[in-house]
Symmetry: D2
Subunit: 327 residues, 4 copies
């Protein structure tokens, strides 16, 4: 009797990130190349409850590498956080003959994957897909480079008008717990400062900013603020400054959801392609409970627990770089 | 004794718009080609008080056609709205030997120009530079096409994430008194609806929207809202909808100042180049108190009074187009 | 007995152009809104021989407005130029119950449509889709604005390096019989000259160029050349110049096929949406044998014969504009 | 008596690369911050002969971070390759009171710098600026990421038309001695293959390609070819294929000089900012005869001799990745 082919399930979960489609394409095609069946699960873990599960062939992922978002859709899934929910999920997985799972997403996605994988001793490999770049054990996450460029291009546009009007702009970017986008976005756009959640309070950062004499000249200034309870957001920071310096012509711009979309950059497509390929090699290699990371341009397997529990350190020297380069 | 060359002053005023630099380049080079001197006035009418006036040669406008914003800066100028202020401005103009003025800007700019030109019988030619496209007598204003494309590209990005998450987005775009950006931005981005200041109240538009069964399907939806007291803005509209339809996953995004910036599109550069050239021909032709317009691809001279006082009609049929094409 | 719904066939033919998908979407949805059935014919007229004909619902055209190319594919079709071929095509159309056809394409597409419509007294409405903008009776064709912006952006990039190295660049753009892209691309990119097929010989244009003292200064220069037997192409022009002026550091760049692709601009999407909608109104209005045109922002029905047989005039004054603005 | 400030000269040489301006800005501002004088040398080493040397203040580098090309211009310089030439250069440097030099460029630039630094025991620090990414000792060179994205975006556009017409495209990209752009450009754009100078002959690569059954399906295909004597270029490869497979609808596109230009990506701006800052720290640190490199996100000082003499290895596994992911 013919032995049944092994079957790999694939899903995207949590916030979407540009490059997720490139990862879906890479996982699917590498799996098929190595003689697996592939089943796509729609709407993240939710698809395990709704049984939105579709067999994928190589054509299902044609012409998606350049598309933002995720063709598999994504959703938050309350059920998966309960023991009963995960039992149901496991039943569905068994019913559909799925032997291993590749999940693409951020912190929450990997946390869910880890619990499930442990409870049911089920092989799961994670791929880090989040614009925030806040997963430990990988130099970059899928979507980060695209979001960084989207931010930079938006700030370039705002600088045109800031310069023409000689204004002080506070621009809010994503990054609830991590300042990678704000910090590097500020360097890339030649901003005067970045206010990030990793550093004490925003008052200290602002005080330092003002003490160091920014806006000595009459020129326009741009400050990038990470959207975070730690910073209070751009609106809050702007009001603090306006109170102290009513003479400034202050404006606020919140970049918002457009940071999550757009055709992925070359870096994100390449990263996603390599990680997607590596996820299948990890499974062939009998790995489980690991996230695919990239360190110094080398693929690494990072245990879920390590990726989730550790804070990814940010290079604080770059705050100094911003200050020196915008003098 | 050698006859003094005639001298043309040039300034940008009001909100900046992409393509203003292309217009500055065209005015400067056409003037020099026709043997005028050129003097650039910085910071709009303010430069007539601060005497920020600089002789311009052909090199001063090299390599600016592709730049957003305005190299001449722009500012609102309270003084110019007073009789005393305008007298001072006239004195400066006389002192600097400026024989005619080309002003680039929107409604407020032309209004100021008209009063000044009448009071002092001074030759002024206006060029319509505003992203809002709300000047009568010209099919398009400089900056409108670029802003429209900026909006469309931002909505394209948001649609990636809207589709992945199956959300209902309200996206706010500029256009205090005119819905051109919202209406055409909605068509270009395949949005479900546009809420514009020209149409009664936003409640009616929303009611109609909901009555017509938008979001019958489970798919994501995008509604473009003009930022205007008439519409109440995207946040206001979103709250109305959430109250009626708490089941929707509603999000708001305010595109903000980035709509004013960016490298101008081909259309805006060509429009600005042709209008800048035409402004000099108008002066050679002893025209004054006119705005350069373009109608049916032909240059026209539009009396200031006509350009300012008339509301530019919007094509309401396009609201229907949006509705049919997003079914 | 229930009366059969009327059925509209839709196809794209000839060279692809950005915005064709927006037109397909508009035709499909307007048709369905007005209670027609829609059948998509793949690969242009070829699909009438291979019977690649697929019923289209509103979902078939979801999320395509922003995509370049054509989801219906396109091909040249030898068979359709013969009487026997067209008889076969008519048989297929009858077999599939198609009552009218909307064809999207350029000169060749409309020519084929016209012959077929006349021979079989079959209702066909054409939509002008070609980047060359060379169809009479419409101010713009679908794809032209996108191609123009693609050219401009490429030239902007080349100018960076041209300026850094102080070189003379000849850049070849599409436009076999029409210089719209070269002429307007030159204005938009601030080039020194455009060499277009409408004007006598390239030698004359070059001679004029050199006589008028271009490259007096040491700066870089860019000349846009339409790819055409009339101009000889950029390589040919460059060699003529190098022979006369061996001191110039001459380079050639041929933009090539990328000019046909890319996400359509706002203008092209709006144009395609309005034309697609209008094509169905034309059929409802019992029009046939007409191309949808847009003149002075108004939709017009242009008889095929008029659209095909007439040369679309180009605004030669703009050659002068280029010359003055690049001094 | 007041001690004279130390003075740092800065120049760009060889082929220009996007991000050079960000590096110039970073070098200038970091130097001034650390109390150096800065003198800009125009047109590479040539400026040392023509004495095109200009003192730079912080404002000289305002608003250039987003610009492609180099504001310092660049040129090849024959004189600098001779002993007499270098003596003249040294005399100029002495005359202008330049105490150290920062040179931004590729292989040739660093080679010249090394010889000069050795001959005159003069402190020079190099910054790797070249789109080819072919300098040893640094993970990335300035300009590479921008060129990679430019290539990807061009191929995205070509794929639109390739897919619509079902063609086989050979696209030529830069990379005379190094396949980084071709290899990674192929992954990023989802191409079917990359033909690079590092691998034996193009015949072998093609044979392998065809043997592995590419174009089994009817779909379009894209092959990226590095412009190199080793590969023969896209035209050559296309002709080999056409001879063997006359049934294919083959097209060639040569991306050309636009690959060198454009506004730099976030990565290139950040890389250039960090390297520019580091160059001054290297001088403060009494380093000389070193290139600034970045390895595993850490700044490193790479002796010129090491950077120049070693071939940078390419990751050949990625050829396999391309093959698997395009099946």
């Amino acid at each position: 009797m013919a032995k049944r082919k092994k079957c790999i399930g694939i899903l995207t979960s949590g916030g979407d990130a540009p490059g997720m489609n490139a990862a879906i394409r890479a996982v699917t095609r590498t799996a098929i190349y190595h003689d697996f069946d592939v089943k796509a699960v729609y709407r993240g873990y939710k698809g395990l409850f709704n049984e939105e599960i579709v067999p994928f062939k190589t054509q299902n992922v044609s012409n998606i590498i350049q598309q933002g978002g995720t063709i598999l859709k994504t959703a938050r899934c309350q059920e998966f956080t309960t023991k009963e929910g995960r039992q149901l999920a496991f039943d569905t997985i068994t019913k559909h003959g799925i032997d291993a799972l590749v999940t693409i997403g951020g912190d929450g996605t990997l946390t869910g994957a880890r619990i499930f994988a442990t409870e049911y001793n089920f092989p799961i490999v994670g791929i880090p897909g989040t614009i925030d770049n806040d997963l430990y054990g990988t130099d970059r996450t899928i979507g980060y480079d695209t979001a960084l460029n989207t931010i930079m291009q938006a700030v370039d546009k705002i600088r045109d008008t800031a310069t023409s009007h000689e204004r002080l702009f506070f621009i809010e970017v994503m990054g609830r717990d991590a300042g990678f986008l704000a910090l590097n976005g500020a360097i890339a756009s030649g901003a005067e400062a970045a206010i990030i959640p990793e550093i004490a309070t925003q008052e200290d950062q602002l005080e330092e900013l003002i003490k160091n004499g920014f806006r000595k000249s009459k020129n326009s200034s741009i400050v990038i603020v990470a959207e975070s309870p730690q910073t209070g957001g751009a609106m809050h920071v702007a009001e603090l400054v306006k109170k102290e310096h009513p003479q400034y012509d202050v404006r606020v711009s919140i970049l918002g959801h457009m940071q999550r979309g757009g055709s992925p950059t070359a870096n994100d497509r390449i990263l996603a392609s390599r990680m997607g390929e590596a996820a299948i090699y990890a499974l062939l290699d009998d790995q489980r409970n690991v996230m695919i990371g990239i360190r110094n341009d080398q693929i690494e397997y990072v245990p879920f627990i390590k990726a989730i529990k550790n804070d990814k350190p940010i290079n604080r020297d770059l705050l100094n770089t911003i200050r020196i380069l915008s003098t």
